[in-house]
Symmetry: C2
């Protein structure tokens, strides 16, 4: 974990933003896979991690915004636990590591929280996303758990967002350090992109590279020769010559900061010229987005700059036509990129997505759009130094979506459907980097994973 | 999945055992890691898998034990889902694959279940182990979710246990086929057992071997040079010469049957003579248990035969003393093996552990013990052909437990504490196989992973 001063400082800044009530910050418990004691990799709640740093299950914290008290709750282990888990430090000692002096057994949590609740003090919490914590909050507040979800605190969320959006130097160092594992994952996938290998084999190896490198994957790996399926979490295919392999994968650092990159490789090591044309447009779009990513611009504008670059490229190939600005304004390009350009990244791969995407990615100035494509943009607001975002333009030929747009005669002024038909079966390409907003511009975190077509081809070929 | 006749037959046999009410069998939904859309590997509920076979999220089933009806509930996907997930078959078509003709959207589930509940008909379900399904059942039955856990049906559990305990030929084939992946995992670990390698690296690679081989790990990997910690899920150590590396790891087959093996390797490839003495006792105990494992014997007896073999071995080394039968009867050996010999294995690594261990592993004839050590035995009842169990004797030198027993002057007639003190720091050894009960005896499933000390040493050395 970070030094205790970091956590003390974060809590102090939180207290500076909040006036009334108490914050209830529940850690996670182990998540049951198929029975209570068979659990997934433990993942601590990110809000708990941010303010209290302790990375094991069964903890809870309360911050009293009026008295200023900070209390950690948890149970110490007995000899039976020690037989199964080995010797364990006491909660009291762990709490000191994050600058907290007041600790209680978990049984005391209900007394303190329900007392505050009964006194009419606001109990602030972020939206719970696991059933166990929903049940827990229901129990603590003595309300039916089915009512808990609507009770979260917008004020508390906004305070957390304002702190967590701007990464501290230590957070940036941790993220940058872990980019080496991301690099290894993606170059490993490139080297494996040969006919006869299965998607499942590559996925397995990448999970292993991530875990060996320090932590589990930061989200379910997308590894597919059907890249036009945006979030393809099944891996049934065997690679064959001529396929494009899209790999969207990331790893959690030891302190649980996420990486998130996408690369698309030609199976066997050589793009066809048709593939290379589309691939180059996506590279150009990624680079245009990177150049535009800087403090002061809204991320919505960066998204639209990317859309314009993409539309120009598609027009040069004859897949689109007409006025580029007008096509982008109407959202015609969303046939080819129905998702947003990117999102914030930090302790979560979609950072703070448990809170409420509108409060994380938007504000009074920039509101979410309802236009198809743009509506999927997760981040619209103005960029500030030390934000970290992903830039992930993609281009896809999705047969069902093409059929739908065509049958509804959508954007016939901008889309050359006759030519688009000949791209059915092409698949999809996405290229994604993790980008730090600096004082004056932005830079890719870590050594950039091979991106230019000849570099990707060379990396694939080196795995032969 | 299996052929539809398998599922039809299972449901028919279930209906033969049940008379009144309806069964509510909830599939799992994706489990949130750190926000709702960032999920762990999907794991379907085993009871749902057993009776309905469909391996995706958001499904539920009802079996009416009076009318005989079988209904599957789920929602079909729309174009927005298809963009993100690719084309998806309809529930109606999936249902036919498992022999079910009646399907409804999920919204209809509440109507049917709450109607039955209001009519005073028993709604049978197994104990829910995920918060989301606890909340769901609360909603369906219109009761506070905090009350749901106590409402499960013992009668329904007993019917499920009687079916699932006896593995069908197809299940045994599936399990045996996947033993090749278990073999690969454990021999990979042996080959990596060299100084300078980290536990985390090995764990990562093993997760990759499992995933590449067909499915995720079947439980969190134990990979530790501190093998005396029974369920050690942290991996902070770097291997060094003279360490013993204990690896307890398994993989899920494509149909989600578990493997579960443990091997203990000498780091660098050579047991010390002190290590070899203890190791050989554990091998002998494993073999004695295997010979005793057969239809008609109670598993409690097999456990006690293993305990006796182990005690004899410890006595020959001078670590124990006195009358062997009496030492075992009093549980003195549990200082060295505080856990049970094994458990059933199938769709779950501890098969059916979500139900209630007493209903799975015990019956009117054989009840759980309260004696330290024996109390941790998960399976006591009489073995039948086509049970599959793990045999996993182990021997550990747990400093905290030694101190506790010694200070309480426990078993001073049987334990030579002076000598035991010299084994503090030794660590632990466990050796575990998956064993099928046959008509006349038992056999290890799959090719046996190297077990004899010289074979393990050779495998480690081959990885140099």
């Amino acid at each position: 974990m970070f030094s205790k001063d970091i956590y003390i400082n974060r809590r102090q800044r939180l207290k500076d933003k909040m006036n009334k009530g108490i914050a209830l910050i529940l850690g996670n418990i182990d998540a049951a896979m198929n029975y209570p004691d068979n659990t997934y990799h433990f993942r601590q709640d990110s809000t708990f991690l941010y303010f209290f740093g302790l990375d094991y299950q069964g903890l809870a914290a309360v911050i009293d915004f009026e008295s200023g008290e900070e209390i950690l709750f948890g149970n110490d282990f007995d000899i039976d636990d020690i037989i199964w888990m080995g010797p364990q430090p006491k909660l009291k000692d762990n709490a000191l590591k994050v600058g907290v002096t007041q600790t209680h057994p978990l049984s005391k949590l209900k007394e303190i929280v329900s007392k505050a609740h009964q006194q009419g003090r606001k109990v602030h919490f972020t939206p719970p996303y696991r059933g166990e914590n929903i049940l827990k909050i229901g129990d603590l507040l003595n309300v039916n758990p089915l009512k808990v979800k609507e009770m979260h605190s917008i004020e508390f969320i906004k305070a957390c967002v304002s702190l967590r959006s701007i990464k501290e130097p230590g957070e940036i160092e941790e993220m940058e350090r872990h980019m080496a594992v991301a690099y290894q994952m993606h170059t490993t996938a490139m080297k494996m992109a040969h006919p006869g290998v299965t998607e499942q084999q590559i996925t397995g190896i990448l999970e292993g590279v991530s875990m060996s490198g320090g932590g589990p994957i930061s989200f379910p790996i997308i590894c597919s020769v059907r890249g036009e399926t945006l979030h393809n979490h099944v891996h049934p295919n065997t690679l064959k010559s001529g396929d494009l392999l899209l790999v969207d994968a990331g790893s959690e650092s030891p302190l649980h900061y996420a990486t998130d990159h996408t690369r698309t490789s030609p199976v066997g090591g050589k793009f066809t010229s048709k593939q290379k044309d589309i691939y180059q447009i996506v590279v150009d779009t990624n680079n245009a987005a990177l150049a535009a990513t800087k403090p002061g611009i809204t991320y919505k504008e960066v998204h639209l700059i990317a859309a314009k670059t993409m539309t120009e490229g598609l027009k040069s190939l004859g897949l689109m036509k007409g006025d580029v600005d007008e096509a982008v304004a109407q959202g015609a390009h969303a046939l080819f990129m129905p998702h947003g350009l990117g999102h914030m990244i930090g302790l979560d791969v979609h950072d703070m997505e448990d809170y409420d995407q509108r409060l994380v990615g938007f504000d009074e100035e920039i509101q979410p759009s309802t236009q198809f494509g743009l509506a999927a943009l997760r981040l619209g607001r103005r960029l500030q130094p030390n934000f970290v975002v992903t830039n992930e333009p993609g281009m896809y030929f999705i047969p069902d979506l093409i059929d739908q747009f065509k049958s509804e005669k959508k954007f016939t002024d901008f889309i050359n459907y006759e030519m688009v038909e000949t791209y059915k079966g092409f698949g999809g390409i996405r290229i994604e980097d993790d980008v730090l907003i600096t004082e004056t511009g932005s830079r890719v975190l870590g050594e950039r994973i091979p991106i230019n077509p000849e570099d990707v081809e060379a990396m694939v070929q080196s795995g032969k």
